[in-house]
């Protein structure tokens, strides 16, 4: 057993940046020449070339007509064969929705357990992941025989760390053709679709007031609506607010909603779970209002008020109105 495999994911024919982050994480486990980048699908030539230019040790194309569209059954069967063939010590994935869908099953098939959503890797292969929605960190170590499976949290490792590798001569590319049969694929996925046309464009908003579960009741939403109106800001929300139907889903910010980058993002009663943070941490100035001084949202906020939103928000609205 030797070597590190990084399983890259594509979107729209290009390697996704979260895949480069996974590759950056792999560099903490071993030198670039020990890393094999894996591209997988029905047509992988362009993806392989993109990966080879990054200066990894090797690139493998796992290619088969049955690997498009993506299915968990197809990917598990194909990658299991690749892993048997390559015998890596570690396998690294970006923690995308697709990886969540198949990597745990692949690891289990090989008697292993994925260390998922890792935010840091320390010397000696100690992996840090979050517990309690980001309120605690936990260190894990792989102790069994067989490969160690790891997935990396979006934004936790710097994609540009792999740019430094580029410039070396491109890696050699080989093709691995798995044995797949249509009968192995039990699910039949349809084309991706969006719900009805969006009527708000949070992506171009200059200011956003975003509300989370701290607001407690639907009837309290007026408080944040008033603040948004006073600031000339759009109203947005965390997932539970939209799940409850208090605001339409098109106002949801986060990994399954909108990605926004306004000048001002004011988070009211939002804890700062990673799935929310990925949608707003590119904002120019982030303000958090939360009664819990340890809420993870303060990890990305420029300014914070620790207090009860039911007192702080009306005070803010008044201050803004008075200044006009």
């Amino acid at each position: 057993m030797s070597g590190i495999l990084v399983i890259l994911e594509e979107r729209g024919g290009r390697i996704r940046s979260s895949s480069w982050e996974a590759l950056a994480a792999a560099l903490k486990l071993g030198p670039a020449q020990d890393i094999t980048a894996v591209v997988i699908g029905a047509q992988t030539a362009a993806l392989a070339a993109e990966a080879a230019a990054k200066g990894v040790g090797k690139v493998v194309r796992v290619e088969h007509p049955l690997l498009a569209p993506y299915t968990a059954d197809g990917y598990c069967a194909a990658l299991e064969q690749l892993l048997q063939n390559q015998g890596p010590t570690q396998v690294v994935f970006p923690h995308t929705y697709q990886v969540r869908d198949y990597a745990p099953a692949l690891a289990a098939r090989m008697g292993q357990s994925l260390i998922g959503d890792v935010v840091a890797i320390e010397d000696g292969a100690v992996f840090t992941r979050q517990l309690m929605q980001g309120r605690l960190n936990a260190n894990y170590r792989h102790s069994g025989n067989g490969p160690c499976f790891v997935s990396t949290q979006a934004g936790a490792f710097r994609a540009d760390a792999v740019d430094a590798l580029a410039g070396a001569s491109p890696a050699t590319i080989t093709t691995f053709t798995p044995n797949l049969d249509a009968s192995q694929i039990r699910t039949e996925p349809g084309e991706p679709f969006r719900e009805a046309a969006q009527t708000v464009d949070l992506g171009s908003a200059q200011r956003i007031v975003s509300v989370g579960r701290g607001i407690k009741e639907e009837q309290n939403l007026g408080l944040v609506k008033d603040l948004a109106a006073a600031l000339g800001a759009e109203l947005a929300a965390s997932r539970p607010i939209c799940d409850n139907g208090w605001l339409p889903m098109e106002r949801q910010v986060g990994s399954s909603g909108q990605t926004v980058a306004p000048k001002l993002y004011l988070a009211v009663g939002i804890s700062g779970a990673i799935q929310h943070l990925v949608g707003m941490k590119g904002s120019q100035c982030i303000v958090a209002i939360n009664k819990d001084p340890d809420a993870p949202i303060f990890e990305v906020a420029d300014y914070g008020i620790v207090g009860d939103l039911f007192e702080v928000v009306p005070a803010l609205t008044e201050t803004v109105k008075a200044a006009k």
Binding site: A72, C76, T96, Y97, R100, D101, P104, A105, A107, A108, R109, S113, G116, D117, Q130, L131, M132, Q133, G134, R135, L136, A138, N139, Y140, R141, H142, S143, G144, R186, T187, E188, P189, G190, E191, P192, F193, E195, P240, E250, S255, S256, K263, L264, Q284, C285, V287, P293, F298, E299, A301, D302, Y303, G304, I305, D308, A315, L316, E318, T319, V320
Partner: protein, 256 residues
């Protein structure tokens, strides 16, 4: 349709998080407990499927004695019966270890459908349902918002990233991991709470299920996250803090 719903009891969201002596788990004294939120959606979807198609909903939960409280909540909401896998080592089992427990309890039930939440709010492995499917040899789909019974099996609505969705057709039996927000949750009625007391609650131990616990992945240490960014916290009364913030946003950050 016979549906097993895997339900985890987790610390209440507003509960204070303290690290237990030894640094391997949280201090559970005086904690309030609740049903993992995505599991509540899984239960709701199961109850609606049963109301439409007939059948039975079986709640399944693994954990220490206290888990019984959450199981009774599921029964009060309408599950027909429940299985409790009694074990005290959830915090140190790896994802495969937890899934082995559940799979061993599910197997003899031979359900048509297994629903789990997509992720637990405490350990947040986001894996248990997918691994259980693998162990049971069943097809699976994740991040599911809605399930429709068809002649050939089910059609499910799957959430993709950034506001996209996808339909997937699959045969039964199958395992689905449910995302929150696909439907509205019901409350337990008084009648439901009364009825729950008469429903069957079977209890088995991890040892009886023969699900081994030797982990491949070991939790070594829990710690509070190190602060990396220094946020300017604005002190004072709400009024003072508000005034200071608006001033900063105007003159320092220049975003107003």
């Amino acid at each position: 349709m016979k549906i097993v719903v895997a339900i985890k009891q987790v610390p209440d969201r507003d509960a204070p998080v303290r690290i237990a002596p030894g640094g391997k788990w949280i201090d559970e004294t005086d904690l309030q407990w609740a049903m993992n939120e995505p599991d509540a959606y899984a239960l709701e979807e199961a109850l609606q499927l049963k109301e439409k198609n007939g059948g039975e909903v079986v709640a399944l939960s693994a954990g220490p004695e206290r888990t019984g409280q959450t199981i009774r909540e599921a029964l009060a909401k309408g599950a027909d019966r429940a299985i409790q896998v009694v074990c005290d080592d959830l915090g140190t089992r790896d994802a495969l270890g937890v899934a082995k427990l559940l799979a061993a309890a599910i197997k003899p039930e031979n359900p048509d459908l297994v629903l789990t939440g997509l992720q637990s709010e405490d350990i947040g492995l986001g894996q248990t349902g997918v691994i259980a499917a693998e162990l049971l040899g069943l097809p699976h789909a994740t991040l599911i918002l809605h399930v429709e019974k068809t002649d050939a099996g089910v059609t499910v609505k799957r959430e993709l990233e950034e506001g996209w969705f996808q339909s997937i057709e699959m045969p039964l039996p199958a395992v689905l991991t449910m995302q929150s927000g696909g439907t509205k949750l019901r409350y337990a009625t008084l009648m439901g709470i009364k009825r729950a007391k008469t429903k069957e609650l079977k209890s088995v131990t991890a040892a009886e299920l023969g699900a081994d616990a030797a982990p491949v992945v070991v939790l070594e240490q829990i710690a509070l996250p190190k602060k990396q960014k220094s946020t300017q916290i604005l002190p004072g009364s709400p009024k003072e803090a508000a005034a200071a913030l608006i001033e900063k946003l105007k003159t320092e950050a220049r975003v107003l």
